[in-house]
Symmetry: none
Subunit: 227 residues, 2 copies
DNA sequence: ATTAATTTTTAGTCATATCTAAAAAAATAT
DNA sequence: ATATTTTTTTAGATATGACTAAAAATTAAT
């Protein structure tokens, strides 16, 4: 007889796992206490406390003073939260008339609702979306994400064409900026010129040419349309 | 200049307000500490603690040893939670293939999501439903419950009499079912007994007693005949 | 009208998740 | 290599929301 206890993960723990998940993807293996504290807008001492609890539950690997990484189970839990977050974002935009800069706050709450059936049926209802309204991939039930060949707009050369597939910065300010200039998922963009001095670039969106700063071009994900 | 602070109500507080709201409707004005404790499956001492906090926030009227009642603001907050709960139940049943007995647990979580826009848009999306899948009325934005005298058959108690005034489900199958059992507009119905296990009920139609399922009693509108 | 039973409140604990301040370890600089 | 700075951890405190056990108030019973 085997006892499989459904591990109870609190809302707070889910948020920590999610933060570690996002930080861990940025290349590094072990995530530092300070990085987590900054991401979660809390204090390093609070992070240490929580990490110990997560380690106790076998959700993270933790060695004192050497940062943390997710265990297989921790990664799965985090991916599940991210999956829920992004599916809800799709729901809010496609069904409830939210704009892409309004969804984050609400999705932060909805991502913690516990119900396998709920999220599976939501997935069905939305017709199995692969990306959220910001272009970020939605992990599947097993936590796997489809590897897209998205690149950063600033990396393109003059005269190249591309299609917007996402935004790196998902702050309301940035998304509103994109809205204002009619840049959304699927928008066609062509590089007109690049200014070496400040690394700004002029791009054509529809029939309109606009100049965008390096900060902006660094935060727009595109798919190259090699014609 | 006036400072209007959006009162922060915690998840726990919302659940207490909801319990008091439901208990308060059952006739009595002041709700007892013990009644709340039983409803919430907690201890009376915990209830006293929480009631003090709610009184501090002007959400309940509280006199020691004399029970509590909701203030206007408390009632509005509670009604808002109930509204959210029931709208989500409609969503789960109508859009996500939940059955009526599966919705409660999930709606208990969803009712605490904070976003005015979310619930307003959900209301639009569901086409302004007036009742949840169990036949309970959905409070409007101001906390008012539609005072129609048509109620759903499943809400009646044993021995009550009523008259059929409509059908909620107007599918051919359902209407044929009603025909077969001689239920039509104006038909007199009396509740003989209710079965807690599957929530079916036995009713008397004319001189014939028949057993009808919850699905059926949920879809028959009646006008109570308080004799 | 007292006594007995019940209900409600108070007092003191506990667990969670946070914080500040101080100590310990690691990384960096001279 | 030692001193300085930064990072991380520990220790102790706080707020929330729950609990147990005992005291106080109310209600019911004789």
């Amino acid at each position: 007889m085997s006892f499989i206890l459904k591990l109870v993960v609190t809302l707070s723990e889910e948020n920590y796992l999610k933060a570690i998940y996002h930080l861990g993807k940025q290349g590094v293996n072990a995530v530092s206490t300070n990085a987590i504290a900054e991401k979660m807008d809390t204090k390093a001492s609070s992070v240490t406390d929580m990490i110990k609890k997560l380690a106790e539950k076998n959700l993270v690997n933790y060695i004192k003073y050497q940062g943390v990484s997710l265990t297989k189970e921790g990664r799965l839990t985090a991916a599940s939260v991210v999956r829920k977050h992004r599916l809800w974002e799709v729901f809010l935009v496609e069904k409830l008339h939210f704009s892409w800069d309004e969804v984050h706050e609400v999705a932060e709450q909805l991502e913690h609702i516990q119900s396998k059936k709920l999220i599976n049926e939501l997935d069905v209802f939305l017709d199995y979306p692969t990306h959220d309204p910001h272009g970020d991939p939605i992990p599947d039930k097993d936590g796997n994400i489809s590897k897209t060949d998205k690149i950063i707009l600033s990396q393109l050369q003059v005269s190249e064409r591309c299609m917007c597939v996402g935004a790196n910065d998902s702050s309301a300010d940035f998304l509103k900026y994109l809205d204002k200039h009619h840049i959304a998922l699927g928008t066609q963009i062509q590089i007109i010129s690049k200014e070496p001095f400040d690394e700004s670039m002029t791009i054509k969106v529809g029939d309109v040419a606009i100049n965008i700063s390096k900060v902006v071009s660094n935060n727009i994900y595109v798919k190259s349309q090699t014609l």
